[in-house]
Symmetry: D2
Subunit: 367 residues, 4 copies
């Protein structure tokens, strides 16, 4: 498996640098017969896009997805689906200065030591620009999961620096620029973010994702655990430093009688497990959380070295997110959806098809 | 990749059920010329073994590893190394009762819904017995990493229910049954565990692992990130519900100026990143944490259902760990070592060999 | 994927050296609910075994398969199936002489240059002894294919040195030690082989395998073509130097009007394609052929070098097959069956389940 | 591994349909520091292109490769290299007729039965148009192999229907439209092809590829054999029905004393093995052959059925190659080069780097 590919049976391969000619992906393994159009990518891409509010980077990503292959007359054909987005708003400037400097906390230091060469423009391959294609691929996974198995995948911001939601309402999440589940706190968050942006600093965040309707049995044992695949998928998102399933780190302080979810003939009485036992779905909602560090691209100077090892002070100019966690919500949803679709395909390979609510191509096969 | 296999270039495949005839593994991709003997597995297997103190399961695992292949005259040959351990202390009893019941919080519920059939004896394939082979495989990875690159991998218990280490001393870790880094607290922990065991309940825990000496550049970008592979590896361990790299979930509350690790000509000034930026090692120590839930095998009754959907009360008898997190320390170390060795091999495939401190087979090749 | 593993969704990993303690395999991905017992391996293992007639090696392989995992109360559970065979008839002798010599045409030369170290006893890992486990794994694949999809896989010897079958009758194949489809020629072949064995020389052979009942649609496009996977599987068998699908190399001399298989409402009018078009099964019988070179283990001296580069004369003593192709028939069948089962699982993952003649576990899932 | 991806460490993923907007590929795993420019693809793409002579399809492929990622200032960066070619000369026409018909011998029958849906324009995904991207990816592999290890990969047409080369001269191969190694026969071939084209029929062919300079030790044992990977790679090319290594099917009639390559202190005395023993390179030239069937796209009517099962007569109009084997030479070279580069990377992962003639990035790493 290439490092730029994700998934075993639904395989997504992404390519592209932040300021190169284009970014794109190849999605292989999608069942035939799924209706998909270029316009369907817009909604989620807009949720992830910069430039939507003053609280994210002001780079304007007017991303239009071109479908290069795998779709014929509006239906997937079972062959690889290639998606392409041209990079349009990359500003040309002189990168020779940046190219020889390492931002503290930025991937450029590690890329340099790995490859001995890197594209310094806008972070090159290590830029969060890559996650655009994750969201695009996730659109396909979300649609297939919903149509075929009635599974929904939704996320929200569950922490923004020192702030935590006081209340919870799914309907609030999409009505503010923070994916915040408590409408009453939005003003407070805007004030906080305005001050932060002004200070030149950045801040971390936490995102929660919930998948409803996942049939019991999806997931694999041992190294292919649903939990392990989710952990890998979420940790692969830029800036993520932690992943939890269900009660996560709180489990370390719990007693067995507190943590275990009792089962009644009507179903589970609680969901500390986050919907996964032994790596396999229980039929409860899947609950995952991820922690994102504050971005390293700050306007406040920091001590560092250049490629020659000399001491320097680094200041990052340009258009950056003061909190990359905000826009991570649709990315995390996409990764969860991609993991679930991959596990759904694996499950029906080995164990047959359970839980389907609709056939793929009516009247012929049950893909 | 099969669900029972782990790693891309150093591939470990495990097999075996808790109360079947044997457990074992096949390790493929190990470079030739590494000296290895059956005895070398004993130390780490003993660290993981049950029956070492009254604080773990009283099943006595007198595990002796038989090397079935891949080693000739004491040296690895480059062909697959198969290791076998016969199961000896599985008690024969009537499992027909357990076979039709689901323990709340146990994998048997999920396995049943996945496969429609399962080996109920001692948890079958979902038993932590499987992790014995991870530790065995980890012995090889640890030795190779140490000899070839000077890398060490060490772990300790960083939380036991409500308890956290007050002090820290590596030298204390191996001198108590809890892998606890503060010798002064050991008495307190013993008292706590004695009471817990008596109560019939169980408790969660947290383990930290540190890898020193990892060369900058190991790890891959995007989906093959070192952090993502570590997250997958650690989340694949039984009972794990959370994984952190470096500051982990604390990052969500940090400012960029707090989190970023400044760089001086003499090296990094801090290690909030846990040694990984952009998914690639920076040359700092790799720091990871994992949270383990309390085991679901309790002597305290819990509400559940049987396979026919009837309401039942489940009580688990038999020999179980009141805190599975205690014995997880060597398992977590093994998984970290396996990830690092795999990434080392990947790195030298693409980028050539850096950081080696010793040749594999002196005088001939640089494996 | 490790080099000692085969298959994407049905993954077989083998281990073991010719004269080591044991050989074995781990089969992962088999659907749950398949009935299997140790005795079922005997028939095919006997077909492959040495010592059955004077025309094969006189090493007596009294191979008994031990099932170490993955089967509970006679049914597969969906977890990895590990099979073990102890090596019993390896003669102890002094290998120090052989260890420093390269047999012309033998893998030991290449292994030495790859690894710088090798197990010289009986060819070590490069011995055809490894193929025993392929046959064992193939037993499971054959049974599943037959029960679930009504697919049969059968092979025969289609060339033995200068000899070609004059007639063809499936029922003859299993009634002679050569898997020869024309009973009338068996005496002639025995005379030929007696003379060959006496001469100390060896000879090549050709094997044909036919799979009946494969549903149209199995196989994948481009790099996962059924034909490509068969080619890889068959070429991976020791001593194989050529693989054909359908008319194979004869196709190079054919006109399009000769080669194309016309289609009538009642089915195909011919089968030059060997049942595969564009890498995907057409519903016709799958026809493949493989060519095996004469073994390099001859009693006739040959010029070679030792590990120090000195000129030597090599004579191979010990018990060797004068024609390794004879015993290759069940091995080739096994590889074809493993490829087909793997492709069947892949097909139903992406496109749903078609062509099934029986459910896996009656009344519950359709694995 | 997705079915549209090839290679383990050097992974090529292709996408695109014959008459869709574009075809492309993503090449992942290429070491950093390799100089590459868009122009370098032209030579090999021209060798494969249609429209070069009257003996191939008259579709004019003026293919210009756009590098979308992975190359910065003319050097590979270690990140995925995406290549894109827009389809320009696809003629718009009404495909509704073709869409409901199956050409005898064409992949459309199998695709239909697999997916229940297909892009009928120009063969869609099953078109040989896909092989354009193999050739483009092969350009990178060839260059890296040459610069880094001094390996060259060259092919020629070794059979065209009834014709076989009378003489052999590498220098003739590139000087005629047939890649024919005997200049004296070119006129005869032209006459033959003119008559064939006029008749409306097609013909098969055979291609040979030779790789010089491959170091002893490349390749892996058992299922990862160099021979097995070559077989898979070559059989994955459209229309290929057979693959041979070294003497191939002739081996079936040979005696051991004929086939084995004797070794002298100065090297091997012959090369019946085709440079591979036990699946691993011996240091001799690698020799492979492939057989290509005659294309199924004929102007001569053939009996078939439509998607409703009715009997029809199919006549293929449009621009097709009378012998697809002619243009297969650069494709086969590309596949051999991709396999070798992948195996080179695998080898140095496990066994270290041997045989290198030049460092990748001078002065820093040995990639």
């Amino acid at each position: 498996m290439s490092a730029n590919s994700f998934g075993k049976l639904l395989t997504v391969t992404t390519f592209g640098e932040s300021h190169g000619p284009a970014i794109g992906c190849v999605i292989d393994g999608c069942p035939p017969g799924l209706a998909i159009s270029p316009e369907e990518f817009s909604a989620d891409l807009q949720r992830r896009a910069t430039g939507r509010s003053r609280h994210t980077s002001q780079r304007r990503e007017l991303d239009e997805v071109e479908i290069l292959s795998g779709v014929y007359e509006g239906l997937t054909t079972g062959t690889p689906i290639a998606l392409l987005i041209r990079n349009t708003d990359q500003r040309s400037k002189d990168y020779s200065n940046i190219a020889a400097q390492f931002r503290p906390g930025h991937a450029d230091y590690a890329y340099w030591h790995k490859y001995g060469i890197r594209d310094p423009r806008g972070g090159g391959r290590s830029s969060a620009r890559e996650t655009t294609m994750r969201v695009a691929a996730g659109v396909i996974a979300k649609k297939w999961l919903a149509q075929r198995y009635g599974v929904s995948v939704r996320g929200y911001l569950s922490q923004l620096g020192p702030h935590r939601p006081a209340g919870f309402d799914w309907s609030a999440v999409e009505d503010n620029p923070f994916f915040w589940p408590d409408a009453a706190q939005v003003g407070e968050l805007e004030t906080y973010m305005d001050a932060l942006r002004k200070s030149g600093d950045s801040v971390g965040a936490r995102v929660d994702v919930v998948a409803d309707g996942v049939p019991a049995g999806w997931g694999e044992p041992i190294y292919g655990k649903l939990s392990a695949e989710l952990a890998s998928a979420l940790m692969s998102i830029n800036a993520v430093k932690g992943v939890e399933i269900g009660d996560g780190f709180d489990s370390a302080a719990q007693l067995g009688t507190e943590h275990r979810d009792l089962i009644t003939p009507a179903g589970f009485a609680s969901n500390h497990a986050g919907g996964i036992l032994g790596g396999i779905a229980t039929g409860q909602p899947i609950r995952v959380s991820l922690a994102l560090k504050p971005t390293s691209s700050l306007r406040l100077p920091g001590e560092s070295v250049d490629t020659a090892g000399n001491s320097i002070q680094v200041v990052t100019t340009g258009r950056h997110d003061p909190c990359v966690g905000i826009r991570a919500t649709p990315i995390a949803e996409a990764m969860v959806a991609l993991v679930l679709m991959d596990q759904a395909l694996r499950h029906r390979a080995q164990c047959g098809d359970v839980g389907a609510v609709a056939p793929q191509i009516p009247g012929r096969i049950d893909g």
